[in-house]
């Protein structure tokens, strides 16, 4: 779960509200930080939420109109890497590649990549040990089966709810020719990923 105030207005107050709402909830809060606010404010946002337990962060380069090569974005990625966090980011394939480079492919990164680009990313990222790809936009017929041999441990379920229907994404997992794939995508890979992120708890 993430917070729209953090995305569109103020990451600091948005994160505060999110972390307060989820203090006693089973849901996992996803905090955010906006490089356009500058390095001092970003460090304040990162450190304040980190102390409260934020380990999964989301960046919004497309919605907030900034480039992944923005120097403060690089600084943020470096900070998240040093603090063993996980990054959610939706961006063009080449930008995801830059993030993996910046973090030496050692920080967990979750991205919703479109099946239209699967010829690219299925080759580019098949050796990555840290990139997790959601099933949110893998709605080409046979797409999940096509990429599964390379990404069987790195595909995680996502629906985009409430901007996408959960049932739509669930239906993509029916009839997969790999019998273990549905459980892996729905549960197994996510559990391993969360274990990697929250190993200090």
């Amino acid at each position: 779960m993430h917070n729209l105030e953090g995305l569109w207005y103020d990451p600091l107050s948005g994160n505060d509200a999110l972390l307060a709402d989820f203090r006693s909830s089973p849901h996992i809060p996803v905090c955010t930080v906006n490089p356009l606010e500058g390095e001092q404010r970003c460090m304040q946002v990162l450190e304040k939420a980190w102390v409260t337990g934020a380990r999964i962060w989301r960046l919004y380069p497309q919605e907030q109109a900034w480039s992944i090569s923005h120097p403060v974005s690089k600084m943020i990625c470096g900070w998240l890497y040093e603090h063993d966090c996980c990054l959610l980011i939706d961006a063009p394939v080449a930008d995801i590649d830059r993030v993996l480079d910046m973090t030496e492919d050692a920080m967990a990164v979750i991205a919703s990549l479109h099946f239209y680009d699967s010829a690219d990313w299925s080759v580019r990222f098949r050796q990555s040990s840290s990139l997790y790809i959601t099933t949110r936009l893998l709605h080409g017929p046979g797409t999940i089966e096509y990429v599964y041999p390379w990404f069987k441990h790195h595909l995680v379920f996502a629906s985009g709810a409430p901007f996408g229907a959960i049932k739509s994404s669930m239906n993509l997992l029916d009839d997969l020719k790999y019998p273990e794939a549905k459980e892996q995508v729905l549960t197994g890979n996510s559990v391993r990923l969360l274990g990697r992120i929250f190993h200090d708890r």
Binding site: F115, P141, Y146, I166, N171, L172
Partner: protein
């Protein structure tokens, strides 16, 4: 009765499954889709004359499949000839195996509200063929481009494929531009809010179910419908009745 009004047959330039006509029919059985109206992907993406011809052969062999005559806005004369060939009861078109006209302004890089578009609209209106037009949020794809056409042909039947996609508010903006404007629901945007708002604006008699198969997995659009309208008896118009009436399917 479930009718998929937005589907294709043929190759796509992505690493996805290539489905034959019989594969498509098997898939329809799997997802409980009774009838499907398809356009040729060859016709949409490359050669509309050859693509339509190939599709005609498929339609004559598969009674649950119906077709769109794909036209190309860059070739109005040839497009009109395709409508004459397949849009009437004749040896090529047979008895209404082709039940509509398909236009894709994005792939063709030309808008519908052009002289070529007006001529094609007139031919489709005269043949009583609904037009399925691809719509999304960009200038080239906007649903708003049907407005000048509707002003000239107010009784033309137009289906907004994808209903503007993520920008479905654009489709809602023109829901009342004519009593024969329909919204079709499939896209990468599967939020139930989109579907419910379209029904609220267009009315439940002018929203149509589509999947975009064989480009998209059919369960994607179906999941949106099942989640937004859990009661199956409340979605019969959306899922098939409207299409049956609009296309006068057997």
């Amino acid at each position: 009765m479930t009718v998929d009004v937005h589907a294709h047959l043929g190759h796509w330039s992505f690493p996805i499954a290539d489905l034959s006509a019989s594969d498509l029919v098997s898939q329809m059985d799997r997802w409980k889709i009774d009838k499907t109206i398809i356009s040729s992907s060859r016709a949409v993406r490359y050669d509309f004359i050859t693509g339509n011809k190939e599709l005609a052969m498929v339609l004559h062999a598969e009674e649950r499949l119906f077709g769109y005559i794909t036209v190309n806005l860059h070739y109005p004369e040839e497009s009109l000839a395709q409508i004459r060939t397949y849009g009437t009861d004749n040896p090529e078109g047979r008895a209404r195996r082709f039940v509509g006209v398909k236009i894709h302004p994005m792939i063709q890089q030309k808008r519908f509200d052009t002289n070529a578009g007006f001529r094609i609209a007139e031919a489709a209106f005269m043949a009583d063929l609904p037009i399925l037009i691809h719509t999304y949020g960009s200038e080239r794809e906007t649903p708003l481009q049907v407005l000048p056409v509707l002003r000239r042909f107010p009784n033309l039947k137009i289906i907004l494929a994808h209903a503007g996609g993520f920008d479905w508010y654009l489709a809602n903006e023109i829901a009342n531009a004519g009593s024969h404007v329909y919204a079709e629901i499939c896209s990468s945007c599967t939020t139930g809010d989109k579907l419910l708002q379209l029904i609220g604006t267009f009315g439940d008699d002018r929203v149509l179910f589509g999947t975009d198969t064989t480009l998209f997995h059919p369960g994607y659009a179906l999941g949106m419908v099942e989640e937004a309208i859990p009661d199956a008896s409340s979605r019969s118009r959306l899922m098939g009745d409207n299409a049956q009436e609009l296309f006068r399917l057997p």
